[in-house]
Subunit: 381 residues, 4 copies
C-alpha cells in the first residue's frame, strides 16, 4: 500500500525524515507501506522548490495550509520549528490526516493534551518522533523489565550531556529563547531521557528540579558586541519519584565539556540492573542476580537479530547500527501503522505525557519545590 | 620519631588500621614517623587480648578510658562502632592526645562541631579517616581543578552504589538502626562522595533529598520469622547547589543489584571534565577542551609517580594500587602530621562539615524541601 | 553527472551496494555523481527480475555478458560470489567499463595482478570494495601516521574474530570450499585487516602463518548425517615483517566464541599509539607521548566532522555512524571518481597487493616457513 | 610454625619480598607459617646492613654462602640479579634448604632443569616467583578452563607491553645485556605471559618468533656520548602451537608507547571465552555460549570472595586488590607450603619449563624457523 507523504518544513529535519522513509522502504520492503513523496511545503519558496527537486517530492507549496488539506496527502509529516507543531498538527488532524510530528509534540502541556484528544477522536495515526524509543536497545530493555527479569525497579539514573553550546561566543539561537524552545537543555536533550523513562518505567508521581543558566548572555550574531539574554537552562538536574515508588535522578547539560552525545541511563531492579549509553549504542549492559555467584557480572550484550528492529539492517550480531537507523525504524513503524494498522509506541498521548512532565519540571525549578503530576495514572485522553 | 598508638576497638577496622600503619612504615620509612603499637582496648576482654597478640600491641585493656589517659599513648586511634566515636574522641582530646577517628566523626552535626572546636583549642592532630581523599586520583583531580585546567565548575554528578544488602533475608544490623548508624546508604556510602565533593568542590549552599526504604523489615536473626523495622534509606538521591553556583546530583543505593563498589563521579568545568570510578581506581579520565579539535577525547590516565602518593608503592605507571593502599596513605599522612608536623586534609573541621551536610540532607528528606546549610562559607571552629 | 550502474549479482551484497548508492546520493547530492540504476543481472532469472523491481533497476538480464557490453552501462558493479569476480571484471574492463568489484578482487594473486594491469591500461576507474578503508576512523588514523604524530611505527597487532560459524551442526557452505572461497577466516575476515594494514602501514616484507581447521567436517545440509570436509582455516595466526621494519601480528578466527564483529588493531609508534575496535566503531583511541607526563593517557576520540567522511552524516561529534555508512562512503567515492575524477584508495592494484599477501600467507601456512613477498616495494602494474 | 627466612639480595626486590611476608602474616595469620626475618645478605656490606635494620632482619652478611649454609635459615629467598639465581639456588638446595627464587629460575634451560631435578631429589619446597599465577583472576580462569565451561581451547592471544624503555636517551642497563638478562622484552615481560600460558593451557608443541631491536644503541651512562650496543629484543612476537592443538599468538614490547603495564590475554574455547588485562586487574571478562541468545555477552566479573585468594584482603566483591597483593599471596603460598605442606603452583619444574620455552623462542628467532619443544609432554625431572 502506498503512503502519500506531505512534508511540512524543508530543513535539515525534513531531509532526515525523507531519507528515513527511503531507507525504511529499502530495508523492509513495500509490504510495510511504500512511501510516496507527494508534496513538500516551506515558508521559503526557494527552500520548498529546492527540497522538492532534491528530495524527490512530486509537488511543492509555500503554504502549509494547502498541504494539510490536499486530498492526495495521507500523512502530514511535521518537521517545522517546534513552535509551529501545534498549529500544523491541529489543522492536519481536523482535515482527518494521519500526523507524524517531530518531537516535542508542542511547547505546552495543554496544547499537547488537546492534540492527543483530537487525534483520538479522529481515529487517525498520530505519531511523535521520539526516536530513542525505537532503538533496538530500548526494545530489549523494555523486554527485560516487562518479563520481570530485573525484578521490582528501585532506582533510575540518567543523564544527557553534550558540549555543543559550550563556547560563549556562539550567538543566541531559537534554542535560547523560550517562546521558540520552551526550555533549554531540558527540552532539547533531557526530553529524550524523559521519553525513555516514560517508555520503560511509566508515569512519574512528582518531580523536583534545579536549573541553571551558566552563560547568561550571548552575542546576537557571530562576532557582535550586542548581547541578548539566554532565557533557559544550560544545566538542569532533577529528582523524580515514580508512581511505582522508584527513585529517579536525571541531569542534563548542553555545556558539558567533553561529552558529545552522552545519553546514559541505568535502571536498577531487585533482580537485575541494566545500563546503556547512546555513545556506545550497540551495547546493552545487563546484570542478572540469578547468575551463579562466582560468574556474576554485567554482560555487554551487542545488539543482534534477537533484538527487535535490528534484523532489518544486519543478519548477525555486533554489526554497528547508527543513530539514523533509529529514525529509519521510526519511519518504518509509522508506515506500518498507516498501511497495515500495526501498533506503535509514541502516539500523541505519549507525547503529551512528556510535555506534561516537562511542564511540571519547569514549574518545580521556578517554585523551588516538589511538583506533583496533575495526571496521576496518566492522561485522560 | 616514634608515634605510640593506642587503638580503641579491636574489630575488623582496628586490624585494618594497624596493618596500614605497618605498611606506611615499610613504604615510607621511619623518618615520617615510626608507629609503635602501644596499647589496644576493646570492651570484649577476649577481643582485646587476641588483638594485642595478633596485631602486635604491647599492652591491652578492656577499658578505653584507661587507654585515652595513658601517658605512653601519643595518638588515640578510634575504630569503634560509629556511635561511640564522640565519647572516645572527646575524652582523648581532653587528655591532650592526638586523635585519629575512623569516619564519620560522630552521628550528629552538633557533636562533630563541638569536637572540631575542642581539637582546635587543644592544638593536637585531629584526623578523620575519609580514605578516598587520600587516593592519588583525588590528589590529581584536585590539582586539575585548582590549577584552573577544568575552568569554572558547572556540574557534579556522583553515585555510590553497592548491592551488599540486596538480599531481604539478611538480618537487621546496626546499619539499619539510626541510633547506631545515623542514616542508611547516605552515611555508609554517600558520605564518601560527600567527602570527595567537599575536598574537591568546597562548600554547598543547599540540598534537596529523596530517600526510600525499599526493604522495610528484616529478620532479627538469620532465618528468624521475627521481623524488625529498617529505619533508614536503602536508596537516596539529592540535588545540590554549591556555593560557587554549580549544580550537583548525588545518589546512593545499598541494594543496587550488580554494583559492587561503584563510587563514580564526574566534574564538568568550562575548560575540561574529569570522571572517575573507584571500581577502576587506577584510571582517571580527563578531557581538555584546549586540545586540538580533531584529537579531543577523554584521556584514560593511569596513576603514576606523577600523582601524589603513588610513588610510595611503585616506581612506574600503571601498576595497580589497591583499596587498602588509600588507608596506608592515610596512616602515613597521620604519622607525618604527628611526627614532623606536615599538613593534612581531613581534620575534624572537615569531618564536621560533612556531618553537617549529612544532617541537612536528612532534614531535607524529612521535610521534603530544600534545606540551606547553616554554615555558609564553612564552619566557624 | 549521471552514473549508469550495471549490477552483476542480485543477492544480499547486490542489494547492499544499491542501497549504498541511494544513500550516497541523499547524503552528498548529485554533484558528486548521480547513480542511475540501469540494469541488473543474475544467473537466476527470478532473482534478476525481483531485484530489478525491488531495487529500482530499469532493465534486467540473466546473462551478465549482455550487461558488461551494454552501451548504456557506465560502471559494472560486481556483487557475485567471489569465484566469478575475475571473469566478470575482465570482460567489463575489456569492454572499457569502469569496474566496482566487491572484495576480494579475485581468488588468485596472478589473476588479480592481471586485472590490475588491464585496468591501468584501459584507464578506467577500477575499484575494490574494502569498506573498512572508507571508515572515517581509518582516514583519521592514516592522518595521524602520515603527519608523523605517531613517530616511527614499531609494532602492529590485529585480530578479527567472529563466532558465526561456531556451531558444528551448521552445514558446509561455499566459505568452507577453497575453489569458491580461496581460504577460510583469512579471506573472509583477515583480509579486512590486511586491507587496513596495507592502507596504513604499506607493504610487507615477509609473512609466517599457522592455520588450523578445528571443525574438520560439516553436514552437507542442515540435519544431514552426510558429512563434507572443511578445506580451510577456522583459526589463523601470522607474523609479519614490514618493509619499514615493524613487527606485525595478525590473528583471525571464525569460531571465536563471544566475539561478534571484533576487528581490533593497535599501531605503536615511537611518538604515539593508536588502537581501534570496529565493535566500537565511533571511537579512536590515541596516545601522544608529547602530552604532559601527569596527563598522558589514551584519548577516546569520538568520530566527528573533523574526520573525513563523517560530516556527510552528522553535523556534530559523537552521533553514531553505522557499519553500512562505510559502504555509503565507498559508493560516494566511486561515484565521485567516475563523475568528477576524484582520487580513490582501493584500486585494483591495491586489491591485487592484498591478494598477493593472502597468497603468501597460505603458502607460508602450507610450507611451515617464512615466505617473502615477491613484490618488494609493491606490485609493478 | 615459624619459617626462618634468609634473604639473598637487599635491593628493591628483596624489600618487596620482605613486605609481602609481613602482609601475608597480617592477612592470613601465623597458622599458615609465621615468617621470621633471620638473615639478609648482599655483596654490598652497606646495603646488607641497611636492609637488616630497615627491614627487620636479625643478622646480616656480605657473603651469601654463609647465609645458604646457616643452620638457622629455613628458606633461602633469592632476590639477586637474574644471573646469580643458578649459583645461589644450587648451593641452597645442596644445603637442604627450601628455596624461594624470584623469576626467572635461571638464564638457561639446562641450568633450570638441573635445579628442578636437584630440588626434587632433595624433597624441599622449591618455589619460583611468577606472581601473576597467584592472581585470584588466574585461579578463577583456571577453574573456568578445568571445569570445561570454556569447552575445548582453540586460540590464545596475549600481549605484554610497557613503554618504560621508550626514551632512547635512557642509558644501557643489565636488561640490555644478554649475559645478565638472557633476553629483552621476552624475559622481562613476555615470560609473565608464558607463565600464565603454562599455568592455564599447559605445554606447547612448537614456537616461531620474530624479534627486533629498535633502539640499537644506548648511552653508557646518562648524557654520555659513548654508546653501547643493545643486545636483545625491544619487540618480539611469536606463533605457538600447543600440545592440545590450540593456536597461540604472543607479542611483547618494552617500547610500546602509551602502554604502561598492559598484560592482556584472551583464551577462546568452543563453549566460552575469557579475556583479562592486568591494567584492570580486578575484572575478568567471560562469555558463556550456553547463555540465552538474546542475553549473551561478555560478563565483567569483579574479583570477589568467590575467587581464591581474594578473601584474605576483602570481605566483599569489587574492592580493588593491587599488584603487590599478588606477591602477598605468593608469600602466603610459600609459607604454607613450608609450614603445613600445602600444595603450590610454581615449582622449579614449572620454572624450568618456562625457561625451556624461552630458550626455544630465542632459538626460533635466531634460526628464523619453527622450533619444537624438546620436552613434549613436559620435562622429565
Amino acid at each position: 500500500m502506498e503512503v502519500k507523504i506531505g512534508l511540512v518544513g524543508a530543513g535539515w529535519m525534513g531531509k532526515a525524515h525523507t531519507n528515513s522513509f527511503v531507507n525504511a522502504l529499502m530495508n523492509f520492503g513495500p509490504e510495510f507501506g511504500k512511501p510516496v513523496f507527494e508534496m513538500v511545503s516551506d515558508v521559503s519558496e526557494e527552500a520548498a522548490l529546492h527540497a522538492c527537486k532534491q528530495l524527490g517530492y512530486a509537488r511543492w507549496t509555500n503554504d502549509w495550509k494547502e498541504l494539510v488539506s490536499d486530498s492526495d496527502v495521507d500523512v502530514v509529516d511535521i518537521a517545522t520549528p517546534n513552535a509551529f507543531h501545534y498549529e500544523v498538527a491541529k489543522a492536519a488532524l481536523e482535515n482527518g490526516k494521519h500526523v507524524y510530528c517531530e518531537k516535542p509534540l508542542t511547547l505546552s502541556a495543554e496544547q499537547s493534551l488537546e492534540l492527543a484528544k483530537l487525534a483520538k477522536q479522529k481515529g487517525v495515526v498520530n505519531y511523535v518522533g521520539y526516536n530513542n524509543v525505537m532503538n533496538p536497545a530500548s526494545a530489549y530493555i523494555k523486554e527485560l523489565i516487562d518479563s520481570g527479569k530485573l525484578g521490582e525497579i528501585t532506582k533510575f539514573l540518567g543523564t544527557y550531556d553534550q558540549d555543543g553550546l559550550l563556547d560563549p561566543t556562539l550567538p543566541i539561537t531559537w534554542r535560547h529563547i523560550n517562546k521558540f524552545s520552551g526550555s533549554g537543555a531540558l527540552g532539547d536533550l533531557g526530553s529524550h531521557l524523559l521519553s525513555l523513562s516514560q517508555f520503560l518505567l511509566g508515569n512519574m508521581d512528582r518531580v523536583n528540579a534545579l536549573a541553571k543558566t551558566v552563560i547568561k548572555q550571548r552575542p546576537v550574531s557571530p562576532g557582535s558586541n550586542e548581547m541578548a539574554e539566554v532565557e533557559n537552562d544550560d544545566v538542569i538536574s532533577m529528582l523524580i519519584e515514580y508512581e511505582n515508588g522508584a527513585v529517579g535522578t536525571i541531569s542534563s547539560s548542553r555545556i558539558a565539556t567533553g561529552r558529545k552525545n552522552y545519553l546514559f541511563y541505568e535502571i536498577q531492579g531487585t533482580e537485575g540492573t541494566v545500563h546503556y549509553s547512546l555513545e556506545r549504542m550497540n551495547e546493552v549492559n545487563v546484570y542478572f542476580h540469578a547468575d551463579q555467584e562466582a560468574d556474576r557480572g554485567f554482560r555487554t550484550v551487542f545488539l543482534s537479530p534477537e533484538h527487535k528492529g535490528y534484523s532489518a539492517f544486519y543478519p548477525a550480531a555486533g554489526i554497528a547500527i547508527g543513530y539514523n537507523d533509529m529514525k529509519v525504524l521510526e519511519a518504518h513503524e509509522l508506515l506500518s501503522a498507516i498501511s497495515i494498522g500495526s501498533p506503535y509506541s509514541c502516539d500523541f498521548e505519549f507525547g503529551a505525557q512528556i510535555d506534561n512532565t516537562v511542564s511540571a519540571i519547569l514549574e518545580s525549578a521556578k517554585q523551588q519545590t516538589w511538583v506533583s503530576m496533575q495526571t496521576k495514572g496518566g492522561l485522560t485522553v
